[in-house]
């Protein structure tokens, strides 16, 4: 039983620089491999196979093959990274930065045009 047991820690903290990361002013680079947001990195390689959309546990990704559209609803995405893992063309990436907050609801849409070049003949 002792009084003021925390005083040393308090004094130390007051003497030191605060531990705070002053976020908007001072941005931290998230560690490599952190799951921040799913992005369509290389739209030109996407073949719109729709595997990402099928594998998505929350159906956040919608792929329309005919219109060559890849859409992600960030309201639903849970950042599991399943889509990135299954993408056969590595078009998707998991970026370390988090997605921004937004005021108006919207669905992020990527439309491929012009048409991708046909694959090289073997």
């Amino acid at each position: 039983m002792a009084h003021l047991t925390i005083s040393k820690l308090l004094a130390k903290s007051a003497a030191k620089k605060p531990a705070t990361r002053r976020y908007p002013a001072e941005k931290r680079t998230p560690p490599k491999g952190a799951r921040g947001r799913v992005t369509m990195k290389q739209l030109e390689t996407c073949v719109f196979c729709g595997v990402c959309g099928k594998k998505c546990p929350t159906r956040a990704i919608a792929v329309k093959r005919a219109e060559k559209t890849w859409e992600i609803d960030r309201l639903k995405c849970i950042l599991c990274g399943e889509c990135v893992e299954v993408c056969p063309k590595d078009s998707l990436t998991m970026e370390e930065e988090h997605a921004a907050a937004f005021v108006a609801k919207r669905i992020e849409s990527h439309v491929q045009r012009p048409q991708p070049a046909p694959p090289d003949p073997p």
């Binding site: 908007p24 947001r37 929350t58 950042l79 988090h98 997605a99």
Partner: protein
């Protein structure tokens, strides 16, 4: 009358865990602790709807807490802003198909700022709060001009 609006400088927070898995929930708490320290912006976690300006909701709305969410919103004095944090609060997230989940918070009360992520990072929540400040200021100005709060539109 004081010409400047101080809402932007002193946003008091009310946090409610609608039916979150605790993931976003503890990230909200983490925002208040030394590493993120939102008190820098004058944010205080009041825990009392009557004192709060920003309602920060994590988690989806379900049959049981629907009334609670409505109630909390109604108890807050104008001007007020709702920030929904995390996939569940936005759309029901991973639980959207569940029988007991009605969906995102905007099914019940009007949401002003959406913070995506699962779980949302504290940085993202700070982003959301900063955006909410702008909305809060706008609403405060509106309130002052019209003398009456803008009627919250009934969500569909």
């Amino acid at each position: 009358m004081i010409p400047m609006a101080f809402f932007k400088k002193s946003p008091w927070l009310l946090h409610y865990d609608a039916s979150s898995c605790n993931g976003c929930d503890i990230e909200v708490l983490a925002c208040l602790t030394p590493i993120y320290d939102v008190e820098r912006f004058g944010v205080i976690n009041t825990g009392n709807p009557k004192h709060a300006d920003i309602l920060l909701i994590t988690g989806a709305v379900n049959a049981q807490n629907e009334e609670v969410v409505r109630n909390l919103y109604a108890q807050m004095a104008d001007p007020k802003v709702v920030v929904a944090a995390g996939a569940c609060a936005l759309s029901g997230g991973v639980f959207q198909d569940s029988y007991n989940v009605l969906g995102g918070v905007d099914r019940v009360i009007p949401v002003d700022v959406y913070v995506p992520g699962c779980a949302t990072r504290p940085e993202a929540i700070i982003d959301g709060v900063v955006q909410a400040l702008a909305v809060l200021e706008r609403k405060a100005a509106e309130m002052k001009r019209r003398g009456a709060p803008e009627q919250p539109e009934k969500p569909a």
